[in-house]
Symmetry: C2
């Protein structure tokens, strides 16, 4: 499926309160987010499923694809457009088999070797992570790749690249200049005083 | 699909070391376990998937069905025969839709109300939990139902019942006399000096 990778809002799983969670999502969508990735690392399956159902409704209203982080069962259960997998999630081939040819499947890469593998696998996009230092994702993080690392990955992987990790209005344009096709953010939207405006301003940098 | 619910070995997710984990599983199968439920609450998806693949191979060798706890994606990915869901997992109808008509889907029930709901849903079996006090599953546990609670559930739910929670060779026969069709155990097998012998002795009580 065709997709616009410019600005992916990755939902903030630190926001456990549903009302706030969905208000920010609504603002991200109204502000122009082109993709939404639902990422939940602590919810039980029932609550993850319920949250995913509501996300799907919200995204559908803006005609924005919803991508589920890690959980192929949740993606299938709510009819999400895609799945984002990390290096510790299902192997890409297994995820593809479960979700079918039409699903959008992205893979996180943190090293040049992983970027090479992503190229061979033929994933729909890679998430280069982390680009810069970030406070959002406190576990499992590799060292930041930086703009030079991004430029090197750009040479190894020919598909769409979205960068994540410490990306904001100050450095988004630089990331694009070093080979990114889009940016993914958590805190730059979820932590903004005005998430809609923040989304809109990020979009202007791309 | 037809299944023999007499003795379900629920794998012990405290055993992180693969060699020990699979040695115990092999012994449980050799000792006569009639069903295996793979339950992992801390592994990442990649490791859960790998463990499930190996479990499937081991179970296939004994022609014993493998049931995956909670994760429909893992069940689909390894071609497991079924899924065991708790009250905080995917809704039964959603799980059924994902896994298809042939899958074996069981539901944990801890109250009379949940037993009534299970009857209405038409699940393949219920896991009455916890029957007795147990040290194995340290989180999310309701108060033990006891033999009287089991007998009450037996009146509300007409399908197959497997009991779990503190079940061992001393009380298994009593559980059967109060309406259980089978028992599910973790520690009674995984914590035994001779898991094969322990499995065999449990089987003799049923």
């Amino acid at each position: 499926m065709p997709f616009d990778l410019r600005l992916m809002y990755v939902t903030d799983d630190r926001i456990t309160e549903d009302q706030t969670f969905f208000e920010i999502l609504e603002q991200a969508l109204a502000g122009g987010a082109t993709l939404v990735q639902l990422r939940e690392k602590t919810l039980n399956t029932h609550d993850f499923y319920q949250r995913a159902l509501s996300c799907k409704q919200a995204c559908d209203a803006y005609n924005v694809p919803l991508i589920i982080n890690d959980r192929a069962d949740i993606a299938l259960a709510v009819g999400a457009q895609g799945l984002h997998i990390g290096q510790q999630d299902l192997p890409y081939g297994v995820a593809r088999k479960l979700l079918g040819d039409q699903a959008l499947i992205g893979l996180s890469v943190s090293t040049l070797q992983q970027a090479k593998e992503a190229q061979q696998l033929g994933v729909d996009y890679v998430g280069v992570s982390p680009l810069f230092a970030t406070q959002t994702k406190i576990q499992d993080l590799d060292p930041p790749l930086g703009l030079d690392g991004l430029a090197q990955i750009r040479k190894l992987y020919t598909g769409p690249i979205v960068v994540i990790g410490g990306v904001n209005t100050q450095n988004a344009a630089q990331a694009m200049a070093h080979g990114a096709d889009g940016i993914a953010v958590v805190s730059a939207i979820s932590g903004a005083t005005d998430p809609k405006k923040a989304t809109n301003e990020l979009l202007k940098q791309l």
